[in-house]
Symmetry: none
Subunit: 205 residues, 4 copies
Amino acid sequence: MPTNSKKKTQVTASPARRRELLDTAAEVFAAQGYNATTVRKIADRAGMLAGSLYYHFDSKESMLDEILSAFLDELWQGYDAVLAAGLGPRETIEALVTESFREIDRHRAAVAIYQKESRHLAAQPRFHYLTDSQQKFEKAWLGTLERGVSDQVFRPDLDIRLTYRFVRDTVWVAASWYRPGGQHSPEEIARQYLSMVLDGIAVRT
Amino acid sequence: MPTNSKKKTQVTASPARRRELLDTAAEVFAAQGYNATTVRKIADRAGMLAGSLYYHFDSKESMLDEILSAFLDELWQGYDAVLAAGLGPRETIEALVTESFREIDRHRAAVAIYQKESRHLAAQPRFHYLTDSQQKFEKAWLGTLERGVSDQVFRPDLDIRLTYRFVRDTVWVAASWYRPGGQHSPEEIARQYLSMVLDGIAVRT
Amino acid sequence: MPTNSKKKTQVTASPARRRELLDTAAEVFAAQGYNATTVRKIADRAGMLAGSLYYHFDSKESMLDEILSAFLDELWQGYDAVLAAGLGPRETIEALVTESFREIDRHRAAVAIYQKESRHLAAQPRFHYLTDSQQKFEKAWLGTLERGVSDQVFRPDLDIRLTYRFVRDTVWVAASWYRPGGQHSPEEIARQYLSMVLDGIAVRT
Amino acid sequence: MPTNSKKKTQVTASPARRRELLDTAAEVFAAQGYNATTVRKIADRAGMLAGSLYYHFDSKESMLDEILSAFLDELWQGYDAVLAAGLGPRETIEALVTESFREIDRHRAAVAIYQKESRHLAAQPRFHYLTDSQQKFEKAWLGTLERGVSDQVFRPDLDIRLTYRFVRDTVWVAASWYRPGGQHSPEEIARQYLSMVLDGIAVRT
DNA sequence: TATGAATGAGTTTTCATTCAT
DNA sequence: CATGAATGAAAACTCATTCAT
């Protein structure tokens, strides 16, 4: 279910080459920011001339679009599975966090781009799906946190919205320093993170 | 009293107007990103023509520079005071976090810019002080966390670097949603945040 | 008999200050070229702000105008005296050359500006007097050379126009390296130059 | 065969087109002065838009650079051949002058630009080679003149430096009025010029 | 007389995009 | 599929000039 199948996005081209090019683009977008990235830089890294990219994509923006929507599609596949599993609130949080770090592992560049650019992109009609996604996201997390408080699994004195923001941001911001293949697996990072958020860093007195 | 005959823009020139203009610029940089912000947009908001800004500043980049360095100067005044106070590790963390949220309250735009742009700016010689600051920052936090583990105030099983990153990011990322004058004071946000990080969100079993 | 007394060139200002400022301007125009010279550079050297110059002059161009026409006025006073003296061709040439080096001594900057800019300035109506002067100049020199050939004072095989160009250019181009107060007086330079042009640098065989 | 990934403009790109464009640029620079020449004027004459020039060159300054250095390279090829030929002083002077007028014939625009702009350009590091060239030039001429005086080919009473300056300037300044394809060939002009400088314009008494 | 602040027109440069080959 | 050459719109910046104080 691709997000936009409108115009004549040349599907003639081999999807493998497209993927390669998108990965390159995502890497550069993440490193330098979307606006600061020139089409020429992407082409350089891909070993071609700027104009040649337009055989594969019809604009710089559509590359960005494809990168972000591919990422969100995969993300929601994972999230939806978790949410449909009927777990308790604590287990749901654990599963969502773990799933998030897995996505960061697989789509580091896309996540970094999402972090930096989504806010101002969301203003454009073409990227409204970012807002949609973010609302779905918020609903899932807020709901789970609320359920946890009701179930007396989470502390009753929490400011739910504040907690949500803190948790959301910390998870995703990890994309800015995470390096795949580093010393920590995504699962390991998730475990450490959850231990901090759920139980705190202070020793129990 | 030599006449300032260097290329530098007259710092003599009405500091009040400069401040006003820098605040406007910071607001726009924060909202749209530095690269996506045109000099014209800043001038529009300031009610002048684009070229007129160059009477006060000698480039768009120097505005950014001044915004960031003014922020960091103030930040370190606060941090240095905390670090010099000889508090225990937990109290130090509490004071640093509180101080951070206060800075966000006072320099929201600058913090947001810092978050989004510092990584790639640091590559330029002109912005090396960002790297310096970030290293000092890291030393302060890591040191405090380590001391806390030694003193058995923090849990012995923490991955210090990972914890540092989580804590650091969550604090600063708050600048992206924080609105001064909103329902939570910086101190209130700090308290909530510290309660989460120190004691966890799960109920004690 | 000032060249342009049209607009309201503020003659209110003390003529001494005007002269000072014009000398400064001429120096900078000569060193950097008229176009490359900003009004700010002139003001800097004069110890004032750019806008303040407009109290004294009504435009950058009018400063140039005044510099050049003052120079030409003086030049022609000298030249006219020589031409009216009824000298023989060789003596006339000697007197013109000597007079020229004296002008270079007194108006070095103006001469340098004239050399570099007169050609393209002459296209503007305001600077047509440059063309007039140059034609008068040409007539005086060509006439003298022709008279010299007729009188068998100069070699009969000379290409008069070519000789004129060479002589004219060498004289004036000296403004680009001449430094008043250096080791050679204008008269000394004139003597050396005349000796070369009249008798050649080769030893007589 | 590494792909040229530096910032340098592809020197690979059709050298013929580059040459054409540089010739156009040189013509305009020579006619109006470098500073007074806008990139748009050059583009207009070349029948393209201003921005399009940047496909071939990376700045207006680099066009100037290329024009001047190409000229100096060719000039020194000729000069070095003359200086290596082991001629006597008079013959060396004759050969250098003739070579110079040939260069003016082939690179009129470049020579004119050199004359007008080299002095202030030499201040910029990028154009230091102008100073180098000018020093080599001075050495070659001064040396030959001195040798001529020692050999009693030139008059013993010459002020060598003064003579050098006169000779140098007259030769090059010819670029400002010389029109290729006019009635005088470069060789003819050189002959007339040499006859004046070597033997003088006065009849032998 | 001079300053401080601004204007507005123009300049160089950048860059996404197009398109014939 | 890719290149080479260009377009055109917009960007940052410059600078002569104005004017109230």
